[in-house]
Structure formats: structure tokens, C-alpha cells
Amino acid sequence: MASVVTGAQNKRPNPNSTSAAATREGDQLIITPLGAGNEVGRSCVYMSYKGKTVLFDCGIHPAYSGVAALPYFDEIDPSTIDVLLITHFHLDHAASLPYFLEKTNFRGRVFMTHSTKAIYRLLLSDYVKVSKVSVEDMLYDENDIVRSMDKIEVIDFHQTLEVNGIRFWCYTAGHVLGAAMFMVDIAGVRVLYTGDYSREEDRHLRAAEVPQFTPDICIIESTYGVQLHQPRPVREKRFTDVIHSTISQGGRVLIPAFALGRAQELLLILDEYWENHPELHNIPIYYASPLAKRCMAVYQTYINAMNDRIRTQFANSNPFDFKHISPLKSIENFDDVGPSVVMASPSGLQSGLSRQLFDKWCADKKNACVIPGYVVEGTLAKTIINEPKEVTLMNGLVAPLNMQVHYISFSAHADCAQTCGFLKELMPPHIVLVHGEANEMGRLKQKLVSQFADSNTKLYTPKNCQSVTMHFSSEKMAKVIGKLAEKVPETGESVSGLVVKKGFTYQIMAPDDLRVFSQLSTANVTQRITVPYTGAFEVIKYRLKQIYESVESPPVEETEVPTLIVHERVTIRHESDTYVVMQWSADPISDMVSDSVVAMILNIGREGPKVTPIEEKTQEEMERMARKVVHSLMVSLFGDAKFGEDGRLVITVDADVARLDIKSGEVECENQGLRERIKTAFGRMQGAIRPIPKP
């Protein structure tokens, strides 16, 4: 049923497919990671179903720079994307958004939560400032970010929005402030994209919610693979113990951490620890991030996105107003005279303040470096976790690595137990793993395969640009409403009416009800036209009768003036000696009838006044004439045709003999071809010599 398509040619969605083609092929749901497929970084997952297209996240790869850091946007046509959903503000989930909004032909709508948007603005401005690439390599600048802000719309947790038939809402993800998991519903097929999530409540964030509905597809992160986190109290104790022992031995503690997100959690832990240990009050804690300082206002405002614990504290004082932590602007302002704790970014020790301090402190074995979260492949932080003997400093010199390196993960990603538990509760039929190193992801896949062995769950681990295709035979349900629904039809009875499609819902109704159940309305257009005519009204009637089978003339008492009604559609009134008035209700057939009537009346006029009605022929005479005409026409067509004894016309062509009953039009003939030909010919003759029958 589902298959992973490899090869670059056939997986590319065709952006030019017409909507008709899309409905036929629309049952195919395609998921393509443009980034974060078997890797961590540049999250970007493309999804398309029923001609609707959603892109989840739009990040950059922190280990690369310039265009190389972008997801593979050239695999898709950005202009076809309807909705772009950003889960949280981290660079690997949001940082290519200004590029995507400003430098591509993307025309859809972008959504993120309120707090994500507020921090996104600050974070990216900072990113642009600190990223040391040449101007040509810059993906975007400050102005692009400001412009992108106007295009970003906000969504609150649980708020349901609908864009172009795509319904979506988000749940708390628990990863950082404002982090969301998006549930997308297209024509009844639900897809959950978790982004980064954590099922563990911490000091300020709520744990990720378990959605109320089971999604059909769950696109889930696999950062930690099959690893298990230690319980939070244990990690916190290790963290504080390492710091306490280091500073009590006169050492310095470096905590390289990303400016926003987990850092706030660590600061809450440290502040609380210092509060409970008065003996540490003379040891300074520095937090070297002007960015985080600017973001504090955001943390102070969106307390409603945090957990109850923080909200209760908020009632008394602001928990983010730290008592023992002072900001540090740069290394120049840092008075490095004794034991201290410094939290600095970036988390990967690539450059910046954290690297400067690392270079300064790495040779002293009294010092310690606590790596508090996930580190991306290819960064120095990843290297020192393996505790090499020597490291290369920023100035190119090689120095011994004597400082202790501790890896205590506080990164709020789900571990194996959380992921398994989460999926067990949801039981989605399809699981797509993204956002994880290939090895970790593979191990997690194996684990999940064994866990869901007895269920019908399918697991996918697509690489970047590799599409996963699934089929959902969605049954279109419609609601018959209003007058049309007064009686439920039995098998074989016909149902005819207007189908109104709005998004993916169908309603069938009688035309009269259209105005009642939708914003649309129907109209009747009555046409009234005066045609100059000076002749006798009887002439019109006579001529019409030759053309049309039904020409009624109601008594004059009812209509005041002589009137003709043709096929119950067109009314002709002889209102004065100089003109007749025609009236009908617009519809293609009536329009045609009226046109012929007009043409006829004009013709009579042209022939002059001398035309007078000829006495009506009797039915019998008519029939006789018809026989004569048919006979002579048949002769001219088939040669040998004469009336037989039973009144039927006997037509002989070569050896074949056909008998045609002129009254009923039935043909008796052994030769199929001849019979059909005669039938057709006779039909045409009838059309020519008789008035147009009333439908």
C-alpha cells in the first residue's frame, strides 16, 4: 500500500498538475523531508494531499553556513505551498523562514505561536548579527526579517484554523516556550507533526499533550533514538553537584548553552540552588547573553503558555527575575578573578563567548565544562564529549584539554521511553521518523518495529528528498439537505440537485434552497422583448404550428390580448397593431426557441402583408403528405422503395430487404447496417417534416 520511492525524478510533485488531475491522483499522500531526514538540523518536511500542500518548519543546519545550510527547497515549487507551520523558534526549525518568505516565490500563509513569533524576531536578528559570513553568503538581512514579521500569522494552542480547506491546530510540545505540535486535517486525514517535543514537565514548561484524536500519520522526532534520560531530579543533582564541587575547589564552570530555551530552565535551577545555599552567594553566576535579556520580556509575558507552577509563582513575583544571576555583556567586561559560573552561547562552542572562555579555561584541570544539551555533529562540543587529550584553539594553536567535561542532558527532547509511550497512546497507523542521526533513528525504528509488531503500524525513515507515499481512499460523504431531503430515496431512485463543495464538505440541495444553506443565490431572469409586427396574429400562430408541436392559445378573456404560448416556455402577446411582445424566462432552450420565433416573425414581416393564413389542413391530409415526402426521400436515398401491402415501405438494397413502418418508425431488416442507416435517415426526415415535439 505504501512505498518509499527512491530516485530524484519520480518523486518530485508536479506543481503544474491541474486540479482535475489532482482530484484523481489526490488520494496519494506524499511526505518528503527537505531537511532533517536522517539528520538533525534544518527541519523542513513537505506534505501534499488532495492538491493541498503543507510545509512543516523551515530551519537551517547549524553546522553549515550560507545556502548549504538551507533545506532542499529546490525540490519543491514554493508557490504551490498553501500553509507553512513553524513549531518553535530554534534556528534549526525557523531560521530559513526569512529566506523562504523573501527570496522564493512562496505565496502561502505562515503560522506560529505568539511567543515563538516574538522570540523569532529577536533570535534571527541576533543570528544575522553574529553569523560571520561574507555579504554574498548572507541568506537574508535584518530588513528581510522585519518584512517577514508582517507575513507571519499567529495561532494559539488549540485554536483551530482553516486555510484553503486545510484545517490545523496545535498542541503544547513542551520543548521550549511556545513550542507546538501541529495537527493537520486535510479531507479527514490527520497528520501530526511533533517538531521537537518533551513529555516531561520541567520547571517552567508543560509536558507535551497527547492529542485527543489519533492521527493517521505521525511525523515524529527521533533525536535521542533509543537513549533513556535519567530522571530529572537525578540530572539536576548531578548538574548542581558538579558545579558546587568545581567552585568549591576554586574552579570555574563553563556552561555552553543556546541563548534561549533550555538556558532559561538551567537559570531557574541555578537561581534556586543558590537561593538554598547561602554559602555560594559570593560566587557570581554570569549569563552572557544580551539576547536572552531582551527576550526576558517575552518570558515574562507569555506565562499562560507555561505550566501551573510558574504561573503560581508569577502571582507573587516574577520567577524570571533572577536574584543571583548577573548578565555579562562580553569577555572584555568579564573580571576573571576567581571561581565563577558562566553560561554562554553558542552551545556548540563554534565561536563567540563560549569558545573564548573555553580557550581560556580548557588547560586548567580545576575548571569544568558542563554540556547541558544535545550537541550537533561537527561542532567542538561534540568533540570534547569524547574527552580528547588535546584541542585546537580558535587561534590555531593546540592546547591540552585538562578541564573536566560533563555531559548532562537537559535538552527537552523525548527519549526512547517517552517516544514509545507517546506512540503507544496514539497508535498511528503510519509513523515517519525525522530529526535524528541515521544511526539513532535506525535503532529507534528497530525498537518501534518490535513494539508494534502485532499491529498494522508502518514505519518510515526517509532520507532528505526521499518521498514517502501513502494512499488514503477517502470516501466522500455528502449531506443532502433541505427540500431534497424530505424523503430518503430507496435504491434506484434518482437524486438530482446542486452539489455545493466548500473545502472538503459536500452538500446536495435543491436549487431553491441554495440561498438558504449557502451564501450563493439563484436568479430568474425574465426577458421581455418587443418585436415590430404589423401582420395578422393568426399568421404567427400558423407558422409556429408548423415548427412547434405545442402552440397553445389561451382564451382572450384570460389574457386580455391574443396570446400564444410555445412549448410552455415563450409567451407571445399581440399587444398592438405594430408590435408583439415576447416574454420568457432565460434558459438555453427557451432562448433558442425565442430566437427562432423572432426570426420567424421577422421573416413574415419581410414577406409583406399579403401573407394570409391558409386554411388548416386536416390531420389526415398531413399524414398523407408526410407519407409522400418520406417515400420520395427514401427513393432518392436508397433507390428501390415502394409501399408494401401492409402499408409499410419496402426498401430493397441489393439483396437486403427492409420494411419501414412510417407511423412507428420501426424497421425490420436482417442487415444490421442497413437497418441503422434507414433508422437514422427516417429520424432526420421526421425532424424535417414535423413540428419540433414538445419535450
Binding site: 529577536l122 485527543q212 443532502v480 434518482s494 438530482s496 434558459d587
Partner: protein, 740 residues
């Protein structure tokens, strides 16, 4: 076939009484709002008391007394235990509003309708929702989805959409379509054709001036008084419309660099603003935007000083200032006391920004012409001293002993423990006892009206239809001599005494408005309520300006006709307003307009027939849709087939069915058509309601008055002599429609 819907008003129809309506959907009882008034008159809640136990869910739309005031009382006394649904701001600000009312009441009377604990208990089971969150009810509400949507008017204000089986019931009261400084306009207009719309007629007869003009007049009125050394009193609600006023003042003060102090004084002022600061995501787009860009929280107030204590105003006694203070009704709270102080000075102004509730002092003062003098009761809580305190303690001791004895006789408990527990219990619940002597000694001998009806007004008689408590009628006996009204100096003597007491009172109540500290008030020293009446000469200016933030009559009508519900229920509005709107809507919106009386149950079950069918793929592949606005539309011929018990499938017809009558779909507006024709180079003009195109052709729309609510098709007539123009214009006319 459809979902059964019944509406029963429990309060708040044909009048301005609090809102409270019972909506039963397939037997599931939803209580829409649970309001009370500022007077806390239990007689208003009679109808609620009869049904409270059968209620399955309560939906609250706004954080003010009129919409949620009765929650604690109903929970305590009527056994209303259903879960309550509200948005986060409605929950939070509603809670603060209730605290403020309770504290204000408690300071001047032995208010015992409910306690702070009751308020907390009532708000504990509030389920907080986000705007546009589809919340699926469970158990016997299975299948019902409720969703709050932006209403405007107050922060967090909600219009409720209740959906069952695809049929919508929309409850929209007190909405505002205008975007304001701190709020977005309502999204009511985005709901089209709900099965039932329940809305209010409160503003049906009101029309508003332009916002800009009104704001300017408001600022001018304030500045005029301030520049003449006067004080501006703005009686406001605790946490509702006051937010908008604060922003207006902040903005103007910032623009003009004014230095007149502004005070926001309620028992919970600082908490209110603190919480409001964290509700940015519920406010207008511009506020959200400014925060995202510059992190400027609009409610980081620079000019408005938040105070929770009237004594803080003492330092500014003679200084021109603006005071925003609760309650808006002037019945109780700081506004009541401050009004009494300010009223006698012609320099000052009392600026009402909302219509006072019926039967309140604010309402009396808003009549035209305003009364010359009003009688008010000044009450305050003073600690017991001397003999009284002794008597109280003796009393307590006696009770303690009695109960201890009683208890000891029933159960064998340690004597000490029993006594101590009783001590704490009795001091908590019973610490405040009225001194009967002082009550009877109050000057005009009308002490039996004290409590919630402590305001007596000159020249006021309530209409016979009113259910508000009746007030005694006092002849205005003011005597006049050559120098004007004869003044009784005693009144003023008392008043001076009064303000002295107030200081003491204020100091004793120096509490932080937190939940924890609020409880301190209950455990405070034994005290009593002292009250007396006095006549206040109203010399200060009185002014009413509409800052209620509700859509005005004209807009309400146009919104209703845009929403075009199949059935409409009108509530909450004076009898005239309700009738007026009812007539209007019956004529222009829909034939089914209801305005039920209290406890009158109306059945608004839709008479809509509907059944579900499955559309076969074969059928749909032959249907070509045409796009019209948001919809796609097509004609479909099919035959039904029952595949199994439940499912009915539509298949393509086996043979060609007779052609159907063709349908023209589209909405022709003559004005738009005129525009269109002129772009096509046709000479076109309106003449006598018809569109004259070219020389001879006329296009008319026949409004069929027998078709109520315009549910039938539009009737368009095109007529003219046979000529080329005729066909040309007909072609243009056809181009405005889709032919199916």
C-alpha cells in the same frame, strides 16, 4: 430529523437584568452565562434555582457581574455543579471582578451571599479554552462541540458556537464589531447561516458617534475639568472596559506630555494589570504586533498609577486628577465614597462611560435632568472598641463554651482540641457582627433597607414592570430662600466625620489583593458596620459617554442580516428595543424571530431535513465543479443505492435523465452591474429603480415582498425592443451568472 434545540431565558429578557439563559440541545442543558447585578438581589435568581441541578455545562461569555456574577451563589445555594467553560481572561478577570465586588461589599455591610472561598470554589472548575478551540464535550454531551470566538467588548469576551451534527447554534451577546485599542472586533460576521442565533437587543435603539470624535470629546471633557483644578471621577468596572479607558488616557497623556496624575483604584488594581499584561495574545493585532517588534507591552503603564487603597489618594487631595475606580454603578466600592466627596464641588466631574445598571445610583445620576441631590448611605467597618469589644468577646466566649460543652457531650474528644477548633471556626466565620444599636440609630430610620439596598434616591419610582427592589419615595423638600437652597450645616458636619473614619478604615484594610492576603480580611479583628444616611447635593458636572464597546443598533442589524440565521432568538434589551429589533428582523432577516419571556421555553429545533450519502468515485469523476467565491458548485444527477443498512451511495444514473430546469447561480447587484456595463462601454444609468442600458433596454430587479427574508431566487427582468443592444446586454447579464 434535525437537532432539537430549546431556549429558556432564566433572566435578562425584556429588560436589562443579568443574562442567564438555558439552551437545551438534544436534552443536554447548557447554561449560557450566569449573571447577577451589582445589587446582588437573590430574587433575580429564582428561575435559575429551579433548574440549576439539571444543568450539564455553563458557558460564560464575559468577565463581568452581569455575565458571571451568580456563579458562586448558584454553586453554593442551588447546587450548580456543572463544569464551567470560559476563556482564560474571562476566568481570570472574572475572578478578580468577583473579589473586588466581595471586598467592596464586605467593607460596608455584612455581606453574606457568598464568601471568597465560595468564589474560589466556583472558579475552580472552570475549564479554560482558547479562541476557535473546538472542544468536544463528552458523556451525555457526546457529539456537541463548543467553541469560543472573539466577541470584542471585554478582554476574553466570547461568542459561543455550539455545533451538533453540522448545525450551529451561535450565542452572541454584547459583541463589538469595531476594532478598539486593546481588542479586535468580533468575528461574528464570519458565521453564515447558523441554525439558531441567540443575540441581545440591548443596543438596538442606540446609535453611536464616530470613535475618533467620541475619543476627542472624552479627552476634551477631562482636560477642561483638570485645567480648572477639578477632579475627574470615572466610575468603571473592575477589569473590563476600564482597560480601554486606561489605554486611551495613556496614549493621550504620552502624546501631550501631560502631568496630571491618573489613578486606577480598585481592590485588585495591581493584580488586574499584572494579569492583563500576560494576556497579549487575546488582544488586538496592533498590540500583539508592537510587542513582537519592540517588546513594548501596552499595559506597562507610564501615566496611570495603580492603587488598591483609597488613602493613597490623600496626598493628592487638592490636586486636579483623574480617578478610575470601581464600581461603575456607584453602589459600593471606592467610587461610591469618592463620589460623595466630589459631588458637592462644581469644579469636579463624574464621567460615566457606561449606562448604569438598573436601580443603581449611577443610573439615577444619568437621568436627564440629573437630580439635584441624592441621598446616600455611608457605611463603614470600624473595629470594635471598649465596651462593645468586651461584649463581643464575652459573647464569643459564651458561644465557645456552649459549643464546647455540646461537642463534649456528643463525642469524646479532647477538650482542648475541641475548643481550639471552635475558636478558629467561630472567629473565621462570625467575626463581624453588626452592632444593632448603631443600625437602629441611623438617622432616617430606614435601616431595614440597608445591606444591599443602601442607596435611597430622591424622586425615584421604579416602573411597575421592574423586578428590582422598590425604593421609598421621598419628596424633594429642599427649601429655597433668597440665597438659594437652605443648607443644613449638620450634613456637612457628618460628612467631615465621615472622611476621618474613612482614613482609619482604609488603613485597617491595607491588604494586598492576593488570594492569600485577601483571607486576612476575614480573620481581621472584631469589627462592626456603622452606617448613616446623608443627602449629597450634586453640584459637580455629570456626563455620560458611550464607551461600552458594544455594536450600535445599525451595526447590530446589519450584522444579523449578514449572519442570516435560520432562526433568531432575541434576549437582553428593553421591551421597546426587543420589539423594535424583532420587527426589523422578522421583516428583513428571517421569518422565525423569537423573543421569549422569562421561563418561557421556545423550541427552535430546525425543521431542516437532512441525510447523509456517500458519493461514489464514478459519480464524482463526471462532476465538474465551478468555483464561486469560497464554494464550488455543480449540478449532479444520480441514483441512490443502499449498499448496506446505513450507507446510501449515489451512483451515476444508468441512462440520461430528462434535462433539468437550468439554474442561474449568482448574486446580481444592479450597482455592480452598472459598473460592469460602463466598463464595457455601454451607456448606463439608474432611472426609477431600474437600470437603463443604452437607449432602450431596462434591467430591473423585482423585490418580491411575499418572500420573507429573501429566501427565494432573485427576480430580474430585462426588457426592450428587438435590437442588437438587447442581445449584447443580455450577454453581459448572463456573464454575471453561472448556468447550471
Amino acid at each position: 430529523m434535525g437537532t432539537s434545540v430549546q431556549v429558556t431565558p432564566l433572566s435578562g429578557v425584556y429588560g436589562e437584568n443579568p443574562l442567564c439563559y438555558l439552551v437545551a440541545i438534544d436534552g443536554f442543558n447548557l447554561l449560557m452565562d450566569c449573571g447577577w447585578n451589582d445589587l446582588f438581589d437573590p430574587s433575580l435568581l429564582q428561575p435559575l434555582s429551579r433548574v440549576a441541578k439539571s444543568i450539564d455545562a455553563v458557558l460564560i461569555s464575559h468577565p463581568d457581574i452581569l455575565h458571571l456574577g451568580a456563579l458562586p451563589y448558584a454553586r453554593k445555594h442551588f447546587g450548580l455543579s456543572a463544569p464551567v467553560y470560559a476563556t482564560e481572561p474571562v476566568y481570570r478577570l472574572g475572578l478578580l471582578t468577583m473579589y473586588d465586588h466581595y471586598l467592596s461589599r464586605r467593607q460596608i455591610s455584612d455581606f453574606d451571599m457568598f464568601t471568597l472561598d465560595d468564589i474560589d470554589a466556583a472558579f475552580q472548575n472552570v475549564i479554560r479554552l482558547k479562541y476557535s478551540q473546538n472542544y468536544h464535550l463528552s458523556e451525555n454531551g457526546e457529539g456537541i462541540v463548543i467553541a469560543p470566538h472573539v466577541a470584542g467588548h471585554l478582554l476574553g469576551g466570547t461568542i459561543w458556537k455550539i455545533t451538533k451534527d453540522g448545525e450551529d447554534v451561535v450565542y452572541a451577546v454584547d459583541f463589538n464589531h469595531r476594532k478598539e485599542r486593546h481588542l479586535n472586533g468580533t468575528v461574528l460576521e464570519s458565521f453564515v447561516r447558523p441554525a439558531v442565533l441567540i443575540t441581545d437587543a440591548y443596543n438596538a435603539l442606540n446609535n453611536q458617534v464616530y470613535k475618533r470624535q467620541r475619543d476627542q470629546e472624552f479627552i476634551d471633557a477631562i482636560l477642561r475639568v483638570l485645567r480648572a483644578d477639578g477632579t475627574v471621577l470615572l466610575p468603571v468596572d473592575t477589569a473590563g472596559r476600564v482597560l480601554e479607558l486606561i489605554l486611551i488616557l495613556e496614549q493621550y497623556w504620552a502624546q501631550q506630555h501631560l502631568s496630571f496624575p491618573i489613578f486606577f483604584l480598585t481592590n485588585v488594581a495591581s493584580s488586574t494589570v499584572e494579569y492583563v499584561k500576560s494576556f497579549l495574545e487575546w488582544m488586538s493585532d496592533s498590540i500583539a504586533k508592537s510587542f513582537e517588534h519592540t517588546r513594548d507591552n501596552a499595559f506597562l503603564l507610564k501615566y496611570v498609577t495603580l492603587i488598591i487603597n483609597k488613602s493613597d489618594l490623600e496626598n493628592y487631595a487638592g490636586v486636579p486628577k483623574v480617578v478610575l475606580t470601581s464600581m461603575a454603578s456607584l453602589e459600593v466600592g471606592f467610587s461610591h465614597d469618592i463620589f460623595v466627596e466630589l459631588a458637592t464641588d462644581a469644579k469636579n466631574i463624574v464621567l460615566f462611560t457606561e449606562r448604569g445598571q438598573f436601580g443603581t445610583l449611577a443610573r439615577m445620576l444619568q437621568v436627564d435632568p440629573p437630580p439635584k441631590a441624592v441621598k446616600v448611605t455611608m457605611s463603614k467597618r470600624v473595629p470594635l472598641v471598649g465596651d462593645e469589644l468586651k461584649a463581643y468577646e464575652e459573647e464569643q466566649e459564651k458561644i465557645k463554651k456552649e459549643e464546647a460543652v455540646k461537642k463534649a457531650s456528643i463525642v469524646k474528644v479532647e477538650e482542648v482540641r475541641a475548643t481550639s477548633s471552635h475558636l478558629s471556626e467561630s472567629t473565621k466565620g462570625d467575626s463581624m457582627v453588626i452592632d444593632p444599636a448603631s443600625a437602629t440609630a441611623s438617622p432616617k430610620g430606614s435601616s431595614h433597607f440597608r445591606g444591599q439596598m443602601d442607596i435611597l434616591i430622591d424622586g425615584f419610582t421604579p416602573p411597575s414592570t421592574s423586578v428590582a427592589p422598590t425604593f421609598p419615595f421621598f419628596e424633594n423638600t429642599a427649601e429655597w430662600d433668597d440665597f438659594g437652597e437652605v443648607i443644613n450645616p449638620d450634613d456637612y458636619v457628618i460628612q467631615e466625620e465621615d472622611s476621618n473614619h474613612m482614613v482609619v478604615n482604609g488603613k485597617s484594610l491595607d491588604v494586598k489583593p492576593d488570594e492569600a492576603s485577601v483571607h486576612l480580611l476575614l480573620d481581621s479583628t472584631p469589627s462592626k458596620v456603622v452606617s448613616h444616611e446623608l443627602t449629597v447635593q450634586v453640584k459637580c458636572a455629570l456626563l455620560y459617554m458611550d464607551f461600552e464597546g458594544r455594536s450600535d443598533g445599525r451595526s447590530v442589524k446589519s450584522i444579523i442580516s449578514h449572519v442570516a440565521p435560520l432562526k433568531l432568538v432575541l434576549v437582553h434589551g428593553s421591551a421597546e428595543a426587543t420589539e423594535h429589533l424583532k420587527m426589523h428582523c422578522a421583516k428583513h432577516v428571517c421569518p422565525h424571530v423569537y423573543a421569549p419571556q422569562i421561563e418561557e421555553t421556545i423550541d427552535v429545533t430546525s425543521d431542516l431535513c437532512a441525510y447523509k450519502v456517500q458519493l461514489s468515485e464514478k459519480l464524482m469523476s463526471n462532476v465538474l465543479f465551478r468555483k464561486m467565491v469560497e464554494n464550488e458548485i455543480s449540478w449532479m444527477d444520480s441514483v441512490a443505492e443502499k449498499t448496506n443498512e446505513k450507507v446510501l451511495t449515489l451512483l451515476p444514473p444508468p441512462s440520461a435523465l430528462p434535462t433539468h430546469k437550468s439554474v442561474l447561480v449568482g448574486d446580481l447587484k444592479l450597482a455592480d452591474f452598472k459598473q460592469y456595463l460602463s466598463t464595457k462601454g455601454v451607456q448606463v444609468e439608474f432611472a426609477g429603480g431600474a437600470l437603463k442600458c443604452g437607449e432602450h433596454i431596462t434591467v430591473r430587479k423585482i423585490s418580491d415582498s411575499s418572500q420573507k427574508g429573501g429566501t427565494g431566487p432573485q427576480q430580474i427582468v430585462i426588457e426592450g425592443p428587438l435590437c442588437e443592444d438587447y442581445y449584447k446586454i443580455r450577454g453581459h447579464l448572463y456573464s454575471q451568472f453561472y448556468l447550471l
